[in-house]
Amino acid sequence: MALPQSLRTSVTPLELELIASEQLVEIVPLITMEKTAFISGAYGPLRPPAKCRIPLWMATNLKLKKKCHIVPPEWLSVDFLQERLTRETSRPEFSKLPFRFAEIAKVILDVASDDVQNADKIKSLLKDLREARQAKSRDGLQKLDHSELSLPNLCSMEINEIRPFFIQSMGILTQLVREPSAE
């Protein structure tokens, strides 16, 4: 959202991407590897052609070395996104999507667009989804009052977007509401 620089003090999308890198994705490995312990847990063993669930950061790393194919998650398909987009545009509430879908989709499309069918179509669908949801979150902000803002199914990237504005305005609203009761 176009906000002045002063209001953009929030977690950057890159940092969110880093956080999302812990999510597990399925891969088809092209190399053999024993079960290996990492700080976040033990993953493997990799036994091609069996699929394996590993964190996104590891999948990215292997993919860049051409040592695996990433199996795109179920929701990263034209059919699913199309259906969600029509729901998004036809209904007032946010449709249900994985919490970190934007980050994961971006990483997968960046590094493994050859593993995703119809990557271009998916990219444009994701963009449409984002715009539709952004419009809704803007509308939602109007309902902001001093105590709560209920926007179910809002995803991490979108929360992050409205976070600076929302915190500050909520602070101000709280002050405004509290003054009279104090007197």
Binding site: V28, P29, L30, I31, T32, R47, P48, P49, A50, K51, K67, H69, V71
Partner: protein, 980 residues
């Protein structure tokens, strides 16, 4: 295969759609093309004739037909014209289709009516004598009609539509109605401009009228029964793969001609095999084929506009394509009745339709078989290829196949697709490009090469890739083995079969590499060998070769080879010992043959349901054989390592899969691991995976248990499945009891069992609890179960569990029991291994009589008794030898010798010399206490310190034996003898 006679070709029309029809007397062929002309060819004239042409049409001709007293043409200008027979003389319009292209003309068997199929959704049947007499068949089609044909009786008209349906119309005097709609046989082609639209999709009726042939969307030629309107059989040739573009039957129905891949194939309708082939025009496909109704002549036209006429297509020694022979009439040429049909006998309704089954025809047929005076053609047919066999077996025998291979489609195919990798082949007309790719790129490196032999069989083993090619003009059938791990092609070798033999199947096996085969170190790859190779040849044998190309053994196959797959230590061969059964069983048998010593480890019939075929065989991760059949079942052979104790477990029923519900999909297996079934998912009616290579899907393996309890059933299923695998793993261990891995799995099993016990305790099912407790593996688990029972206040049950625990602690563990059971099997099997009476040439077993052993004599070791030199020598040595033996038998030996030499006193030297000089004489026994000196050539002096009676002969023999042993030992180890 290719016929010797050559076809005459004439360029007749411009490129594009063409059509052909013979006149009813067979003397004239009419051809039409896009150049709006119909040319009239005299079949008795050669290549140089100048054909007459009919110029009336305004647009391209799409159909010609010959009727009684005229011939007809129709085309894109939507008019059907009538001409004087044999001449290009226009004789009037028959009908006009109001702007829609005419697609097909079909004249009924009497030659009086013509059925006109056009782009309209109706078919019009026009009476040629009175063209205002038109019957319109409406309401059967939703898309344009491509072809139409008549039943030989003239009462049924079949129309093939572009939406992939065939409609059978019942035509009677009163009108026409739809009798049946057959969907899903012919391909759906919507675009009339596409080349596929020109392919022949017509239902070609057999003259008997009992069935028709059509080119199916799965690239087979299928026969569809008239009585049931369902597919009864199909014709496919493993060597010709591709879409059939034209079909025709000979006048008497003995031969079927089809066009496929720029080739004309002539099939025998009876044996369903290709008899002869003829090459077509290059880069063109044949659109229409026609058999001459009166001569041995086959003619066809293609997209290049060329008319080809193949005179004597059927060689003279084979039955005539026109004349009604007994063999052809045995299939029935009359439409009134069905004689006892040899091939189509499974149609009981057909007989009913024919009226009295015991009519005079039946007698005639019986005579024909009983008396030997049948016409010559029939005799040849009977002695010919497979005729007698087909008389008996109605079930079509499954042909040999290679697991994981697909037919050539769009110039691409898979030769092998398994858990190791994929072999893809791309056809480049003159050669093939073979691309070998591995799932695990760290172990093996993928490669590709140009293949001029056109390999049609491939097998990817753990140690190398194996290819086989069919024999061609200049080279025999041969195989090539390309071991992995070598960077150059130096390791490759070929093995050629003698002329006339073919390779039916190949399998490459070998141990799974422990480390990467790309690793150049000595322990990396090839030290474990290059695997084992098995070839099945058309001469009915299995040839075993080593990985380096050494021939090891040739085994005979007891029947017909079907397929094989290789595991680490054995090859799984599937063959058909006899014929298929009449009720639809393929009667296949699987044999496990060890690579090590060619032992048959198991021989078991395959559990394939009747009417279904084997689709895939392979091995699981653990090396157990598994099969998949067309009914959708996966079976796993358990206990395959125990001779004669294997069983097929139904591991999975893919029809019960959740994802399959409500979907039309099938599975193409790639591999099987413990909990997952690796496969490619095929949508709809697809039979083989296509290109680009689809991702391998993993489906969870579920035993087809029928209980539907939401809590218990999944756990029970998991326990049963895990037990199968634990038992397989334990079998692989041999005599060892367990491994850490198995222990871990058993702990997991116990956890699951405890869950079940808890459920059973909750619902107060005491017998069940006890049964489950007995299945637990570890005492700790039993203790846990006892606590559970206590928790649910089932005191009586708890006591019983404690008793089980106590009993378990006192007795052998289940693992030990399993081992004992296994050893018991060996004992049970021992009589099988024992030679038959009177054929045993082994020495008799040694009888051990403890009561008759030599007693240890009393040795008096005083210097006074040491009178004999031998005894003296022995005595001097005895303490030394025993001392050295007790400390360190080998290491000290040398030093003792040295010491002995150094400290040798005079008589020792003397003895040594004696021993050498007299060789065998005066050899002391190693136990000097026995006090025997045996001297050859003299009577034995036996000094016996024994009070028991002795069976002296026996004893003497044993002495003699031990003596001989000793002397032999001395001969082999002379330095040891020096000791004495």
């Amino acid at each position: 295969m290719a016929s010797t006679s050559k076809a005459i070709s004439n360029s007749a029309h411009q490129q594009g759609q063409t059509c052909i029809a013979f006149s009813r007397d067979g003397k004239i062929a009419y051809t039409g093309g896009l150049d709006t002309l119909v040319r009239i060819w005299h079949t008795d004239q050669g290549e140089d004739q100048e054909p007459e042409a009919a110029y009336e049409a305004d647009e391209g001709i799409t159909a010609v037909a010959a009727a009684e007293g005229c011939w007809l043409s129709g085309g894109h200008d939507s008019d059907v014209r009538k001409y004087i027979p044999g001449k290009a003389q226009f004789n009037g319009l028959v009908m006009s289709a109001a702007g829609a292209s005419i697609r097909c003309l079909a004249v009924d068997p009497s030659g009086k009516r013509v059925a006109v199929a056009s782009d309209e959704l109706s078919v019009k049947i026009v009476d040629l004598d009175e063209i205002t007499n038109v019957v319109v068949l409406e309401g059967g089609h939703r898309k344009r009609i491509r072809k139409t044909t008549w039943h030989p009786s003239g009462t049924i008209l079949t129309t093939s539509s572009s939406d992939g349906t065939i409609v059978a119309w019942n035509i009677s005097d009163t009108g026409a109605k739809v009798e049946n709609v057959i969907d899903g046989v012919i391909p759906e082609v919507v675009d009339p401009e596409s080349p596929e639209f020109m392919h022949d999709c017509s239902a070609v009726w057999h003259p008997s009228g009992q069935y028709f042939f059509a080119a199916s969307r799965t690239h087979e030629i299928v026969a569809i029964s008239r009585s049931t309107w369902t597919k009864t059989s199909s014709l496919s040739d493993p060597n010709t793969v591709g879409v059939t573009t034209a079909l025709a039957l000979s006048a008497n129905g003995v031969y079927l001609a089809s066009a496929c891949n720029q080739e004309i194939l002539v099939w025998s309708v009876q044996t369903k095999r290709v008899l002869w082939k003829h090459p077509g025009t290059p880069n063109a496909f044949t659109i229409q084929i026609a058999f001459s109704p009166t001569e041995n002549l086959l003619a066809w036209t293609d997209t290049e506009g060329v008319l080809s006429r193949w005179r004597d297509a059927i060689p003279a020694e084979s039955p005539d394509p026109v004349r009604q022979t007994a063999a052809s009439s045995a299939q029935g040429t009359t439409t009134k009745r069905k004689p006892t049909p040899p091939l189509w006998g499974e149609e009981p309704e057909a007989d009913a339709e024919g009226g009295d089954p015991y009519g005079d025809d039946w007698i005639i047929d019986d005579l024909g078989d009983g008396m030997k005076d049948e016409p010559e053609g029939a005799k040849e047919m009977r002695s010919g290829d497979g005729f007698v066999k087909e008389m008996v077996s109605i079930t079509k025998a499954q042909p040999a196949f290679q697991p994981g291979s697909t037919p050539m489609e769009n110039k691409k195919r898979y030769l092998a697709y398994n858990m190791v990798g994929v072999i893809e082949v791309t056809d480049q007309d003159t050669h093939h490009i073979v691309n070998v790719e591995f799932h695990d790129r760290s172990t093996r490196k993928g490669y590709h090469f140009t293949d001029h032999f056109k390999y049609d069989l491939g097998s990817l083993g753990e140690r190398g890739a194996l290819f086989a090619c069919p024999p061609e003009l200049d080279h025999p059938a041969q195989i090539i083995y390309k071991p992995y791990g070598t960077w150059s092609t130096q390791g490759d070798w070929t093995y050629a079969l003698p002329k006339g033999q073919r390779v039916l199947g190949i399998a490459a096996g070998g141990e799974r590499p422990m480390r990467s085969l790309r690793d150049p170190s000595s322990s990396g790859g090839d030290i474990q060998g290059q695997g084992n190779i098995v070839i099945a040849t058309s001469s009915g044998d299995l040839t075993f070769l080593s990985g380096s190309g050494m021939e090891r053994i040739v085994l005979g196959v007891e029947g017909e080879y079907v397929t094989m797959a290789s595991a680490e230590e054995y090859v799984l061969v599937v063959h058909r010992p006899g014929a298929t059964t009449i009720d639809g069983s393929q009667s296949l048998v699987a044999t496990l043959i060890s690579f090590e010593d060619f032992q048959v480890l198991q021989e078991k019939p395959l559990p394939i349901p009747k009417g279904h075929t084997l689709r895939w065989i392979g091995t699981t991760d653990e090396g157990a054989p598994a099969i998949y059949d067309s009914a959708g079942y996966i079976h796993l052979m358990i206990h395959h390592r125990r001779p004669n104790r294997a069983a097929w477990v139904r591991l999975m029923d893919t029809n019960l899969l959740e994802r399959k519900q409500g979907k039309d999909e099938s599975y193409w297996p790639v591999g099987l691991s413990q909990d997952t079934f690796m496969c490619l998912i095929l949508k709809g009616r697809q039979e083989y995976p296509g290109f680009p290579r689809p991702l391998i899907q993993e489906l969870p393996v579920r035993l087809p248990f029928r209980n539907q309890d939401p809590v218990d059933s999944p756990i029970e299923e998991r326990i049963a499945r895990e037990r199968i695998h634990v038992n397989l793993a334990r079998d692989a261990l041999g005599d060892e009891l367990t491994s850490p891995d198995i222990d871990k799995r058993e702990v997991e099993l116990d956890k699951q069992l405890i869950k079940l016990i808890q459920v059973a305790c909750k619902t107060d099912k005491a017998p069940r609890v006890i049964e489950l407790v007995k299945r637990l593996h570890f005492p700790n688990s039993i203790a846990a179960a006892s606590q559970l029972a206590g928790f649910y206040r089932l005191i009586g049950l708890q006591e019983k569990i404690e008793a089980i625990k106590l009993w378990r602690e006192q007795n052998a563990t289940p693992a030990e029991e399993a081992r004992e059971a296994r050893q018991g099997f060996a004992y049970d099997d021992a009589p099988l291994a024992r030679p038959k009476p009177f054929q045993n040439f082994n020495p008799p077993p040694k009888v051990d009589r403890p009561g008759l052993t030599r007693s240890a004599g009393i040795v008096e070791q005083t210097e006074f008794t040491a009178s004999s030199v031998a005894i003296r020598a022995g005595r001097s040595l005895a303490p030394q030898a025993s001392a050295s033996r007790s400390t360190s038998p080998e290491g000290k030996r040398k030093r003792d010798d040295n010491d002995d030499d150094l400290s040798s006193n005079t008589f020792d030297v003397e003895v040594k010399r004696r021993a050498v000089g007299e060789s065998d004489a005066a050899v002391p026994s190693p136990k000097p206490s026995t006090c025997i000196a045996i001297q050859p050539g003299r009577a034995y002096i036996l000094i016996i310190y024994c009070r028991q009676p002795i069976f002296s002969e026996d004893w003497a023999r044993s002495q003699e034996k031990s003596f001989c042993k000793k002397t032999r030992a001395q001969q082999t180890y002379p330095e040891e003898r020096e000791l004495f």
